[in-house]
Amino acid sequence: MSKFKKKKSSELPPVNTASLPDIVFMLLFFFMVATVMRDSTLMVSNSLPAADQIQKLDKKDRVMYIYAGKPSSRYIDKYGDQPRIQLNDKFASVSEVAAFVLAERASKRQELQNVLTTALKVDGETNMGLISDIKQELRKVNALKINYTTRVGEYSQNID
């Protein structure tokens, strides 16, 4: 009887979990390396329009971002519901765009200063007037390379 019992207990050894931390660490390092932190919190609603004839934006260090759209719901009381520009972490007026571009340009390395792209991340519901104003400001400071950032999709998604 005792012989029989002994045999049964050795049939199902507990699973060795000693290598579990190793696996988890491996995943952890992957995500740590792949992570890009959101550098600015969005204060405007930002549902980008769809397009399919698009090109990838080059490396992150050559891009400066200008956001525009209606203020998010928690800022509506303070800033109204008209589309506004967001630079870094605060709302800005059109006249501040030029100064922002110059400051961004000065903060980049010398060899990158001439190849900077301005990514316009604009909400689909914005009027073109605001975007034209931004474009005029960009032309004033000679930041001519722009990118209308979109999401991937058929153009027909833009038309209701």
């Binding site: 992570t35 073109m128 474009k135 005029q136 990118n147 209308y148």
Partner: protein, 207 residues
């Protein structure tokens, strides 16, 4: 002398700590990169002598404040604009020096002479919505891409790539430098055959 062995550290909670960090990074990760339509703005200083462009070499697209399209003075749906732009760019009515040998258009004398002269002018109102504007831009870029794809496949059938695919391969950092050197002249040949002359005029003021 009896050596006292140091007590073993209990590593049982290591997995928990690692999991906590893992979940944090999982949540904050955004792997996807941004993409969009690249454009180049015209420089600010006005040309003293703007070049004279013939009326038939300009393809006018107007988007009004109700997001309606007027193409060459005729109302149009967005779905038709790609084909209309292709017909305009590929028309090739020029004769003599201005002849376009690779164009497959109708050679209509009221439309563009050759793709090098053809200019698409996109005008919008201040109250045009951005998403419709992007849809129109997208379709106009698509017209250029479609023509470039066609010529790229005719000129370099051995590559088995379209212009857009080849361009993507060229700008991909993983592509080897030798392949990039190989692609670069081919891409620029096709780009010169159908140069992207898309002018974004300043918006008209509404009263």
């Amino acid at each position: 002398m009896a050596r006292r062995s140091s007590p073993q550290v209990n590593a049982g909670s290591m997995a928990d700590i690692a999991f906590l960090l893992l979940i944090f990074f999982l949540v904050t990760t955004t792997i996807e990169t941004d993409s969009g339509i690249n454009r180049k703005l015209p420089p600010m200083d006005e040309l003293i002598d703007p070049p004279i462009i013939k009326e038939r070499n300009i393809f006018t697209v107007v988007v009004n404040k109700y997001d309606q399209l007027l193409v060459e003075e005729k109302p149009m749906e967005i779905s038709e604009i790609r084909q209309a732009a292709i017909e305009f760019l590929d028309n090739g009515a020029g004769i003599g020096e201005e002849e376009c040998s690779y164009c497959k258009g109708n050679r209509d004398s009221d439309s563009s002479d050759n793709p090098e002269k053809a200019v698409i002018s996109l005008k919008n109102d201040r109250e045009t919505s951005y998403k419709v504007y992007i849809a129109v831009q997208n379709e106009l870029v698509a017209a250029y891409n479609q023509l470039r794809d066609r010529e790229f496949r005719i000129l370099y059938p051995n590559l088995g790539l379209s212009f857009v695919e080849a361009n993507k391969r060229y700008s991909d950092p993983r592509t080897s430098p030798s392949e990039k050197e190989n692609l670069k002249p081919k891409l620029s040949v096709v780009k010169l055959m159908y140069p992207q002359k898309l002018s974004e005029a300043e918006p008209s003021k509404t009263n």
